[in-house]
């Protein structure tokens, strides 16, 4: 298993593809920042790691664009947390980005000839 340089990924994420990850994870249910970081690590089987100093600026940027919305929610027996959910604008962007990404992956496959990456 090749390790991906997480710092380099951070830079990559900043450029935009990380947005897709966040929006996808929030599509089904609202989640808080720590949960998002853990889910990404878990589902990428440790390949993708978000550090605190890149995850939150990203969330705030998406929030400023109006794609997600954070709300403080207090659940019984837990402390107050900030949950994020996708806005309708965010859903539109997500659909668009999924299409673009799929097209991009298909194109890369065709060029590199890799069938089962």
């Amino acid at each position: 298993m090749t390790d991906i340089n997480t710092r380099a990924l951070d830079r990559e994420l900043k450029r935009g593809s990380a947005e897709l990850l966040i929006l996808s994870l929030l599509e089904a249910t609202p989640r808080h920042g720590y949960e998002l970081g853990k889910l990404i690590k878990l589902r990428s089987r440790g390949q993708l790691t978000f550090h605190i100093d890149s995850l939150y600026p990203l969330l705030y940027r998406l929030e400023e664009r109006g794609w997600i919305k954070g709300t403080w929610i207090e659940k019984a027996g837990e402390r107050r947390r900030r949950y994020y959910k996708v806005t309708s604008e965010g859903r539109r962007v997500l659909a668009q980005q999924r299409k673009t990404f799929a097209a991009f992956v298909a194109a890369v496959r065709r060029v590199t000839g890799v069938e089962n990456a």
């Binding site: 720590y34 605190i52 939150y56 705030y60």
Partner: protein, 900 residues
């Protein structure tokens, strides 16, 4: 639950990393909380995985990369670029920015407390508005330079004349000074007179200003058309030339070129040579035309004083030097002047305009200054009360790190912002007040058109506003500048009312009451003066039914005196036929119209050595025709009126006034048949046939004038211009004046009417200074009373509110409603009485200054003092009773439950 120590640590780590960003305080707190939670959860997971606390902490902090990526990623976000916070206590390091912050904060704080800010601003606006209005009058009338080039060098050339004659000029003094002076660049003569302008459609009687050729150049005035008088125009016998004022030129000629055109003035042909600029305003005169004042330098120089003189000082010359120069020249006058004992009196020309209104205006300015002080006292009290309520807030800010200076500045900026707002509103009040003043246009006030809110007045208003702000700012600071940390304790508000604060508020109230009382006494004395003047018998009755006007018959218009007299008689008879006219009378001047023709009267029975008495015993001379006394409503104390026949036959008869008769004969009736004569031994003796009731010819507040009435057109007093008095119930009704005018013109169409006014108007203008001062002082005193009483009310009401809990306790322990009420009444009354005592003492000093404005009442008149104190005390009692009654109605249960 998270470990609070760790939470603080994480928060600190996050906050340090965010510090370079410009996040709003709330946003930063949110982010700190969110990220600290994240770190804390990560840490607890690591511990759960079996890491040692040290390793767990190290690994948790490894979430942050080198070089503070958090701040770098956050920096482009909008939320990281909010404008700097304007919370006081967070200095930006720039003085101007900080001041602006303070001002904005202050404005916001005050906007939230509308009731407090509104009351304070209104109170201040009243005080500042009144002060600004009066100051703009003082500035326009007393302080603004005269509208001439280099006005500082202009002086009025007068003499002190201890015996009443010689303050002005005649040929002797004027020519002697002109020929011998060393202090002046030039000397000019001037005088006013009335002139008839005939030849046009309607004959006109206008005011004329007589000037020597040097006068206009001294003033630095330039013609807008043509030229002014040259030296040759001054010489006797020169062809008559006339200069028009801009107003008359516009009114009569519509502004067309008239230079060189002829005009008939007093029956003499004259040539228009020039026009004055519209800015020309000469002292208290309002002439239509300017004529030369001819002086024959070669004529004999006897004692006469008929005109005025002005001069321009040589540059660098002082008034003292000019007076010394005139003192030297007085000794050069002809020997007969020595007994006049003249003294030099060179003074700034502006003094001639201002006259005696200076004192009145300064007293008024002082009065409104007192109103402003009272207003400031009230606002200071409000500030104290409010600052007390804010003790906790101030202590909190201090505990959060605001420096003392910072807190002081923010308290101070609140008071300044408040004062400036009051000043702005005050300016609006002042503007309205000046509009009212212009509308009333009191004749007594000179330079009315120069009174305005201009830059000088603005500077004054801003300055006094700042001063007021500083005043109550400092009072609040002295009490609250040092934050009281005790205020932070639970229920700390109850510790607010310390005895020293009480004392400050009480002192302010006592001061307010004292000041208000002083103003009330001053205006009370003015009211007594006014009443005293109204009760004086002025020498006439029902002045509202007497119409007066002047008809002039110039010597070269009707040369023969007999014919002139007959013309006057015809006019009088024609006037008597106008419907509603009950009587008509003629005199050379109407009572109190300012004409003062003084001369010496010799009495056969009481011969006096020539010399001294001629100067010291000046009598007022008038000439008159039958019907004058009856028309005025004056009575004959003894004897009878003269007849038209006696006038035509030149009978040697005369009438004198009661005061003069009593001076020589004690009983007026004993004067009848005695003989007197005018001026000198060459004049014929005249027999006294009547003693008239006194006339207050010098004004109601002056002693009755000693009068001598010559029958018209006599040998010693050939006055051909007569003032008419017409008594009718129709005076003031539409059309009456027109009928009067037609009646005069029916006799001779070339006779102009002038100085048309009712006797009531003459009387009112003679009381002008008193009424003006009275109205203004009464307004000031009324406002002072109002504000002062509000002050007392406020202090008692506040004390009652502060002591609600105590009252409840007292009542729970058995105190009666009346006891509680009495407690507050006692407090209010002791403040009032202290204020009244202080005020009375102050008034004794202050009223002495205004003694000159009083008439018929002493500055320490006990009745006024007692009455005014009683009024103030009773109003204050009401102001105390209302809050005291409310305090006594407290329900003990509610009072004790409330957090006091």
């Amino acid at each position: 639950m998270p470990d609070p120590t760790n939470s603080l640590k994480w928060a600190h780590e996050v906050r340090t990393r965010l510090s370079s960003l410009r996040l709003s305080a709330t946003r930063e707190a949110e982010i700190v909380q969110e990220l600290s939670q994240h770190l804390d959860e990560h840490y607890r997971e690591l511990i759960a995985e079996g890491q040692s606390p040290e390793d767990a902490e190290r690994l948790t902090l490894a979430e942050f990369s080198e070089g503070n990526l958090l701040a770098r990623y956050m920096a482009p976000l909008r939320q990281a670029q909010t404008t700097p916070p304007s919370t006081p206590g967070a200095p930006t390091g720039h003085v101007l920015t900080d001041v602006w912050q303070d001002v904005r904060h202050a404005a916001r704080v005050l906007m939230k407390q509308r009731a407090f800010a509104g009351t304070a601003v209104m109170t201040l606006a009243l005080g500042i508005g009144a002060t600004t209005a009066i100051f703009s009058v003082v500035y326009g009338v007393l302080l603004k330079p005269l509208p001439f080039a280099d006005p500082d060098g202009l002086v009025s050339l007068k003499q002190y004349a201890p015996h009443g004659a010689g303050a002005n000029h005649g040929a002797a003094t004027y020519l002697t000074y002109r020929e011998n002076q060393t202090a002046f660049e030039a000397i000019g003569a001037w005088d006013t007179t009335d002139a008839s302008i005939t030849g046009g459609s309607n004959p006109e009687r206008v005011q004329a200003l007589l000037v020597s050729s040097s006068t206009l150049p001294i003033l630095g005035v330039k013609p807008v058309a043509g030229r002014f008088f040259a030296i040759e125009d001054d010489s006797p016998g020169a062809p008559l030339r006339v200069v028009l004022t801009n107003g008359y030129w516009q009114r009569r000629f519509g502004g067309r070129n008239v230079v060189g055109e002829p005009l008939v003035i007093d029956g003499r042909p004259a040539e228009v040579i020039g026009v004055l600029p519209s800015s020309f305003k000469f002292l208290r005169t309002s002439p239509s035309i300017l004529l030369p004042l001819p002086l024959d330098a070669s004529a004999p120089r006897g004692i006469s004083f008929g005109f005025q003189a002005l001069a321009r000082l040589k540059s660098g010359t002082t008034l003292a030097f000019a007076n010394a120069d005139v003192g030297r020249m007085i000794s050069l006058l002809p020997p007969q002047f020595a007994r006049l004992e003249l003294q030099p009196n060179v003074r700034p020309l502006a003094d001639d305009v201002i006259g005696n209104i200076g004192d009145t205006l300064w007293i008024l300015l002082a009065a409104v200054g007192v109103v402003l002080l009272i207003a400031c006292g009230n606002v200071a009290n409000l500030f104290l009360i409010r600052a007390e309520a804010r003790q906790q807030e101030l202590a909190m800010r201090a505990a959060l790190g605001a420096s003392r200076a910072r807190l002081a500045r923010s308290l101070f900026s609140e008071s300044i912002v408040l004062a400036l707002a009051g000043g702005a509103l005050g300016l609006a009040f002042a503007q309205a007040a000046l509009g009212l003043l212009r509308w009333f246009a009191p004749a007594y006030l000179p330079r009315l058109d120069e009174i305005a809110i201009d830059s000088g007045v603005l500077v004054f208003t801003v300055s006094i506003s700042m001063l007021c702000g500083a005043f109550f700012g400092v009072i609040a600071l002295r009490k609250f500048g040092r934050p009281n940390t005790a205020a932070l304790k639970e229920g700390g508000r109850s510790s607010g009312d310390s005895p020293t604060r009480h004392r400050t508020r009480n002192t302010l109230v006592v001061g307010q009451v004292a000041l208000a009382l002083t103003l009330l006494i001053v205006s009370g004395l003015m009211i007594r003066t006014f009443i005293a003047m109204r009760q004086i018998d002025p020498g006439f009755t029902d002045p509202e039914h007497v119409q007066t006007f002047v008809v002039a018959i110039p010597a070269n218009f009707i040369t023969d005196p007999q014919r002139a007299a007959r013309t006057h008689q015809s006019v009088a008879e024609r006037l008597a036929q106008v419907p509603g006219v009950t009587s008509v009378g003629l005199s050379s001047s109407i009572t109190m119209d300012g004409e003062d023709n003084g001369n010496y009267l010799m009495v056969e029975e009481f011969p006096e050595p020539a010399g001294s008495a001629m100067i010291t015993k000046l009598r007022r001379f008038k000439s008159f025709a039958p019907g004058y006394f009856a028309t005025m409503g004056n009575r004959f104390v003894a004897g009878r009126d003269v007849t038209w026949n006696e006038i035509y036959e030149g009978r040697m008869v005369i009438v004198i006034s009661e005061t003069l008769a009593r001076e020589y004969w004690k009983e007026p009736a004993r004067a009848i048949g005695k003989r007197v004569r005018c001026c000198n031994t060459t004049m014929p003796w005249r027999e006294i046939v009547g003693v008239s009731g006194d006339e207050r010819d010098d004004g109601l507040n002056q002693p009755a004038t000693s009068m001598v009435y010559f029958p018209m057109l006599n040998e010693s007093y050939r006055w051909r211009t007569m003032a008419y008095a017409v008594r009718s119930n129709r005076v003031g009704t539409p059309g009456f004046l027109g009928e009067i005018q037609q009646a005069v013109w029916a006799v001779n169409a070339d006779l102009p009417l002038a100085n048309i006014q009712t006797l009531e108007e003459i009387q009112a203008s003679s009381m002008g200074r008193t009424s003006f001062a009275l109205v203004m002082l009464a307004i000031a005193a009324g406002v002072a009373l109002l504000i002062g009483v509000v002050g007392i009310y406020g202090v008692i009401a506040y004390a009652a509110a502060q002591r609600t809990r105590e009252i409840g306790l007292r009542m729970a322990l058995g105190a009666q409603v009346a006891d509680v009420r009495r407690m507050f009444l006692r407090q209010g009354l002791s403040l009032t009485i202290t204020g009244i005592v202080v005020g009375i003492v102050a008034s004794f000093g202050v009223t002495r200054v205004m003694a000159a404005m009083l008439f018929g009442v002493s500055p320490t008149d006990p009745m006024t003092y007692v009455a005014v104190s009683a009024v103030l005390a009773s109003v204050a009692l009401v102001a105390t009773y209302l809050p005291a009654r409310r305090a006594a109605r407290v329900d003990p249960v509610i009072a004790l439950r409330a957090e006091a």
